[in-house]
């Protein structure tokens, strides 16, 4: 694990660096795919940029709204460079909404736009695994298997390595084994389905799972729901033509 890199007096957070690289490579893949679907690649890169910036702003605002008294007393804390005061759900909602509005204004259609993003999303997931590995997050359950890694005082499943391998597999499938016709949205759903399936599989080896009633792992339950939703939507979208007018965002 290497959560920080010391460069002179600077302490560089490697997790952030891995995520930034993920966004950069992901955007590059998305732009390439956009060109294949005949979408202007700068529209897709703007969509990603607007989604990310709005997501970050939304994540901070949602966190601040949750602890309104603390932020009313210290409004400058809103501009703090810190990932600890971000709300992931708020970020997701704001980011998606802003990207959606941008897409709407630019006349981007939903399903081709999602298909353009699909390989980028798959690539980003690899770097997310790398970020987990560097920071020692998303750690595994204890094991005595020969490939166990010593982390947090015990030998554990290298779940971060499993995550990177599975995400690489999903990325290769997404690029070389596309399910649908480009632009009908199926390829995006395919990536979502495969990523959810990978998480359902991987979660069994994690040591930090949130446990629900009956001992079920929350991430597996959510993963199964995402898999079911993707399969239902794949069936629905497979029956629509790629350029159906209702698919405009």
């Amino acid at each position: 694990m290497l959560p920080y890199l010391s460069i002179g007096p600077l302490l560089l957070q490697t997790t952030g660096l891995a995520l930034l690289l993920g966004v950069w490579f992901g955007s590059w893949f998305a732009e390439k795919e956009a060109a294949r679907i005949k979408i202007k690649s700068d529209l897709v890169s703007n969509l990603i940029f607007i989604g990310l910036v709005s997501g970050l702003v939304g994540a901070r605002l949602t966190y601040a709204a949750t602890y309104i008294n603390a932020y009313l007393a210290n409004p400058l804390s809103l501009f703090e460079i810190n990932t600890h005061s971000l709300s992931p759900i708020g970020g997701l909602i704001f980011g998606t909404l802003a990207a959606f509005i941008y897409g709407q204004r630019q006349g981007l259609k939903l399903r081709p736009a999602l298909d353009a993003l699909a390989p980028g999303l798959a690539v980003f997931m690899i770097f997310l695994g790398l970020a987990h590995l560097l920071n020692g997050d998303a750690y595994g359950a204890t094991t005595r298997l020969p490939w166990a890694i010593l982390l947090a005082g015990d030998y554990r499943h290298p779940t971060q390595v499993y995550e990177i391998l599975l995400a690489t597999g999903v990325m290769l499938i997404a690029v070389y084994y596309q399910l649908g016709q480009r632009g009908n949205g199926i390829n995006f759903l395919w990536v979502v389905f495969l990523s959810a399936a990978a998480r359902v599989f991987l979660e069994a080896f994690r040591g930090d799972s949130m446990i629900l009633l009956g001992g079920f792992r929350a991430a597996q339950v959510i993963g199964l729901l995402v898999m079911a939703g993707s399969l239902i939507l794949m069936r629905t979208w497979a029956q629509l033509p790629a350029n159906a007018p209702e698919s405009k965002i």
């Binding site: 966190y63 005061s85 005082g153 399936a197 069994a204």
Partner: protein
């Protein structure tokens, strides 16, 4: 290479799609059932101590600046901030007033601060001057041999470990914390039952 897969035809046929979906979900549910946790808890317990979020905070006993001793586990039941700092470190200086403010505001509700001075890379005299200058009232454990720094895997100053009432590290912040960030984290943990 692009393959028009046989799989894609499944989505164009209701019966095939239904069977495929059923089989995939049955496998998934079976795997989730087989891998469910047998531990009766909301999270899989991690009894080991480690300076990571979700783990028990490493215990230590240290001499306090001005006399006396403190043991971390003796504070179980309280929300504790373990902050590692040195007097020569500008970001440490920057965040201290915020820590003092939070300490004074939340101490009656069960908040404690252990601002461990990294004495092995500081001087006790400089640290004492620093404390007086900023009028800090919370306990200052000393770490002359760097044992606490090693236990907490110190990578940069300041480093803060926010520990809940059960002794579990809930947040690790490397670098200065704003007043709002500290207040929000402490408020949240103080609301949790003992």
């Amino acid at each position: 290479m692009r393959i028009k897969s046989g799989l894609s035809s499944i989505f164009e046929n209701s019966r095939r799609w239904f069977i495929f979906t059923l089989v995939i979900l049955a496998i998934g549910i079976g795997w989730a059932f087989a891998s469910r946790s047998t531990i009766n808890a909301t999270h899989i317990e991690m009894p080991q101590s480690s300076p990571k979020e979700g783990f028990t905070a490493p215990d230590f006993t240290s001499d306090l600046m001005g006399g006396g001793q403190v043991t971390l586990t003796a504070l179980r039941g309280k929300v504790v901030l373990v902050n590692l700092w040195a007097s020569w470190c500008p970001p440490c200086r920057a965040e201290m007033p915020a820590i003092e403010k939070a300490y004074r505001a939340f101490k009656p509700q069960g908040f404690e601060v252990l601002a461990v001075n990294a004495t092995n890379q500081d001087s006790e005299t400089a640290a004492t001057t620093f404390i007086k200058e900023l009028d800090l009232t919370f306990p200052i454990p000393l770490d002359p041999n760097g044992e606490v720094s090693t236990q907490y895997g110190l990578r940069g100053l300041p480093s803060s470990f926010i520990i809940d009432r059960k002794g579990i590290i809930r947040s690790v912040v490397v670098g200065p914390m704003s007043e709002a960030l500290l207040q929000s984290k402490v408020e949240e943990l103080l609301k949790e039952p003992q």
